[in-house]
């Protein structure tokens, strides 16, 4: 044995029980409940899972979330369990923020980078128990997370398929959970984690979400997925509960100003042209980079970037008119090209055409005005408008109930 091998640890992953490679795509453990509700029969893909694009009408699903509550199936989200005495140092080397500030029973948001300081993905870190965390993200990262175990006494487990998860979001979400029998759920602060006994199993609830609204995420073993769905919809019947698909969620997350892999940034590991990747600074996430940590992936490159300046600014645009500005070019008022829109929508709640856009630095100061080139079609007739847009500070839609504890009862 070589001298360094004592520092190597192979993560304990048993693939013998995982049969997903035999099927082209997984139905979610909630599939039997989703399928009858999916009147449109439009299924999208999220990694290896079927994921509804919309059940009936994405606008209705959106309004359910903003005015009552809506349920989104989170199961396809990548979930990794990190445990062992080095779980915290492992995560602190992996991600840019200081994970020691995420107390037990709390959730924190972070990004993680490669050595080049470019974002691989963003996601949430759940501090479940002592020396035990769950990392959740949209993309799959098993190889990178395993690579990161070298030199750490940690066990890394892929548990994407072992945990069924639902997001319950909207103003009546808390009331629905109380109705379902979750005692004192109203006492949970944003980013809190609590465990409840439910149908002879454990239900984990976190006050988290991707909608910028009051909301919770529910985590349970897949065997109890259907009963959870049933009990939730029973409890929510008089609270306007609806199932919601991906289209509505996108609308909600853009209103909340959340970034998404594949839209605001290319995950670094899936990017061929390295200049097309983004640093945390270029995504407006400099606040997540903690240089006080002596070592984390990308630290050296990010220190250099901090000194020399970054290339792009991610901004929120309020655009005149009502035409969604998807995929538009952004120009200065003197018509110099400065960037592109990465996500856009008409915001029913803000009553505005809104967009997230990547602009070449130093453009993008709050209040700065631009022209957005929007192409739109009416009955096959294309038109083009150069709409005025301005950079706004803060979030497009930010209801106080998002943070209120306890939330209002309904």
């Amino acid at each position: 044995m070589s001298e360094f091998s004592r520092h190597e640890k192979t993560a304990a992953i048993d693939f013998s029980t995982k049969a997903h490679y035999k099927t082209k795509v997984f139905p979610s453990p909630f599939y039997s409940r989703q399928e009858p509700l999916n009147h449109l029969k439009e299924w999208g893909r999220w990694a290896d899972y079927l994921s509804p694009v919309a059940y009936t009408c994405s606008a209705m699903e959106y309004f359910a979330c903003r005015n009552a509550c809506a349920v989104f199936d989170l199961t396809p989200m990548s979930k990794y369990r990190i445990s062992g005495i080095d779980a915290l140092p492992y995560l602190n080397r992996l991600v840019t923020r200081d994970v020691s500030k995420i107390n037990m029973g709390r959730v924190g948001y972070s990004v993680w980078c490669g050595d080049d300081g470019r974002v691989i993905d963003d996601g949430t870190i759940f501090h479940l128990h002592e020396n035990e965390y769950r990392l959740c993200s949209q993309e799959r990262h098993l190889d990178w997370l395993l690579t990161n175990t070298a030199g750490f006494d940690v066990t890394l487990e892929e548990e994407t398929h072992d945990v069924a998860a639902l997001a319950l979001q909207g103003p009546t979400s808390c009331a629905t959970l109380r109705k379902m029998g979750l005692e004192d759920v109203e006492g949970m602060k944003p980013f809190d984690i609590r465990y409840f006994s439910f149908e002879n199993t454990q239900l984990m609830v976190s006050r988290t979400g991707f909608t910028g609204d009051l909301g919770y995420e529910l985590w349970i073993d897949p065997e109890h997925a259907e009963i959870l769905w049933d009990r939730l919809f029973e409890a929510g019947e008089h609270h306007g509960i609806q199932a919601m698909g991906d289209e509505a969620l996108t609308l909600l997350r853009v209103e909340a100003g959340f970034i998404q892999a594949g839209h605001e940034f290319m995950p670094a590991h899936e990017t061929v042209r390295s200049s097309h990747t983004r640093s945390p600074f270029e995504l407006g996430l400099g606040w997540l980079v903690d240089f006080k940590k002596p070592n984390f992936n990308g630290r050296k490159a990010l220190l250099t970037e901090k000194k020399s300046g970054h290339r792009y600014n991610l901004v929120k645009l309020d655009i005149d008119g009502n035409k969604p500005a998807n995929d538009s070019y952004v120009f200065t008022t003197k018509k110099k090209f400065v960037g592109t829109v990465t996500s856009a929508t008409w915001s029913p709640s803000a009553k505005a055409s809104i967009a997230l856009a990547t602009l070449e630095a130093p453009h993008g100061k709050p209040g700065e005005e631009f022209l957005v080139e929007i192409y739109y079609q009416k009955e096959l007739k294309w038109s083009r408008v150069m709409a005025r847009a301005r950079v706004i500070e803060g979030v497009f839609y930010n209801p106080p109930r998002r943070r209120l504890t306890p939330p209002a009862d309904f």
């Binding site: 520092h7 190597e8 080397r93 050595d115 690579t147 030199g151």
Partner: protein, 520 residues
């Protein structure tokens, strides 16, 4: 009292560590060299392996020592002299019709005039290309993608060196540098024994066969010292002794039997080392002569590195495939058909290239060679300090002996030793009767004795993908590592292995060129 910021700790007193120490001490640094073994020298040592019998325990021929170093550090004044220089090579033939290679001339073995002419041309272009390599050896490799003028200078000089070969030679250089030595020798020569012997230049000390890519590259690297083969008086340890004296004279402190167990960090920079007994030594700069895997994964720990860099270090190819055989003999061995005068040559057992390639085939599948190849010296012939009067020492580099032997070295070492002795006995039938003592070092033994991961003499395979700005890996190829204050100076860095010293000398330059940032 020590000024910590000016204090440089060097981990390992191998020849590169000692060279680096000498240059840094001369430049005014306060230098402490820490060596785990009882004597300085690393894998360039002479030690007793049987009562009264001494041998160069690892490297046994000197052909690459940087002439600048000999001159600048006045190694002759420190006692370095040679028992043999400009050694010839004798390729042993099974039928006793041996071939003597002296530079570009060939004698014996009924060699054809065609081969003799081809040898002149072969040596001309190989020496010319080796000259290009030689110029690379003494240069800090360029970083790619920076705007730093020194990087551009270094890159430009490298390109210019290759272009300067002229149209025809440059084409030939680019054609053969990446291919295998089997093809190149096949193009040039007829005689199997000659081809077998020359192919050894491309594979000694590596995990390559004559048909492997990079074997021409290795041959050029081996020739890049631009000097004949020599044996220092007193064995290879004499080189280290002279270097240690030069380093001490320049003001460096060398502590032996002082193993470093850990490189210490303070914030994002290294701040010293911890010793086996718990003692901590503070230093503004830590320079490691240990191989890159030992340095980064063992002494520093992967957790102090960024993950992508740590993965690159883990992926360095350094599986040793070379064993070392030491025989204490009560008389001069007799090789069938060999003029005793030729016994002070470098003797090769490599009868033809197919033989060498078949020997490698075993190693590919985790087995030792059933018919091994060997490079043999009998240093006691010209140096009576190595063995009792009338007795002799035989030192042989033997291939292939894979580090990760399927059956395990614990079980197989004895049978391999016997097999090597049998192979020797095919050429020197009476050798077993002369045997007083024998020692075989497998790569596992080499790893243990010299603390080299995988027992790989060169601290990492010599290959184009692990050379220049790729050695050991990008972001550590200019001797500075990604960890502030931590440098490499061993054979794992450019220009690699062989008792050369250039890595140590280049590393000293890199240390001196780095602004001391201290506790930033």
């Amino acid at each position: 009292m020590t000024d910590t910021r000016n204090h440089v700790v060097i981990i390992g007193a191998g020849h590169n560590g000692l060279v680096c120490a000498a240059y840094l001490a001369r430049a005014g640094k306060q230098v402490t060299v820490l060596e785990a073994a009882e004597q300085p020298g690393g894998a360039a040592i002479t030690r007793e392996f049987a009562p009264g019998y001494k041998v160069s325990a690892a490297a046994h021929l000197l052909y690459m020592l940087d002439k600048n170093i000999s001159k600048e550090l006045s190694l002759e004044a420190s006692g370095l002299c040679f028992s043999q220089q400009d050694m010839k090579t004798t390729a042993l033939a099974q039928d006793g019709n041996h071939l003597v290679i002296a530079g570009d001339s060939l004698q014996g073995a009924d060699i054809s005039s065609k081969d003799q002419a081809a040898m002149k041309e072969y040596r001309r272009f190989m020496d010319r290309f080796a000259g290009t390599f030689n110029r690379l050896n003494n240069r800090i490799p360029p970083r790619i993608g920076t705007r730093d003028s020194s990087d551009w200078m270094s890159l430009g000089k490298t390109a210019l060196d290759i272009r300067r070969l002229g149209r025809d030679d440059m084409r030939e250089f680019l054609r053969i540098a990446g291919i295998n030595i089997y093809d190149v020798l096949q193009e040039n020569f007829e005689h199997p024994l000659l081809k077998g012997a020359l192919s050894m230049d491309g594979i000694l000390g590596t995990h390559l066969g004559p048909r492997s890519n990079n074997s021409v590259f290795c041959a050029l690297h081996r020739l890049s010292g631009l000097q004949g083969m020599a044996i220092p008086r007193g064995g290879m340890g004499a080189v280290s002794d002279a270097l240690a004296k030069a380093a001490a004279k320049a003001g460096a402190t060398i502590r032996t039997s002082t193993a470093v167990t850990r490189i210490l960090m303070e914030g994002d920079h290294s701040c010293g080392v911890e010793l086996f007994d718990g003692e901590k030594i503070a230093a503004g700069t830590v320079v490691s002569n240990a191989d890159p895997k030992t340095t980064f994964l063992g002494l520093l720990g992967a957790r102090n590195l960024e993950a992508g860099f740590a993965r690159k270090i883990q992926n360095i190819r350094m599986r040793g495939n070379t064993a070392k055989l030491h025989l204490a003999l009560d008389g001069l061995p007799e090789f069938s058909g060999l003029d005793p005068k030729r016994l002070s040559d470098r003797l090769l057992i490599a009868p033809d290239m197919e033989y060498v390639d078949r020997a490698f085939d075993n190693a590919k599948y985790g087995e030792y060679s059933v018919k091994p190849v060997a490079e043999i010296t009998i240093p006691s012939l010209q140096d009576d300090s190595l063995a009792p009067a009338g007795s002799h020492v035989l030192s042989a580099v033997v291939q292939y002996a894979p580090y990760q032997l399927k059956a395990g070295w614990q079980e197989e070492k004895e049978s391999f030793t016997n097999l090597v002795l049998d192979t020797l006995a095919e050429y020197a039938p009476g050798i077993r009767e002369q045997l007083v003592h024998q020692e075989l070092l497998t790569p596992v033994d080499i790893e243990r004795e010299f603390r080299i991961t995988g027992g790989h003499w060169h601290h990492g395979e010599l290959a184009m993908d692990q050379f220049l700005m790729l050695r050991p890996v990008p972001h550590a190829a200019q001797y500075a590592s990604p960890v502030n204050g931590l440098f490499l100076c061993g054979a794992g860095s450019h220009p690699g292995g062989g008792v050369m010293g250039s890595a140590g000398r280049n590393a000293a330059q890199a240390v001196l060129a780095t602004k001391q940032t201290g506790g930033e």
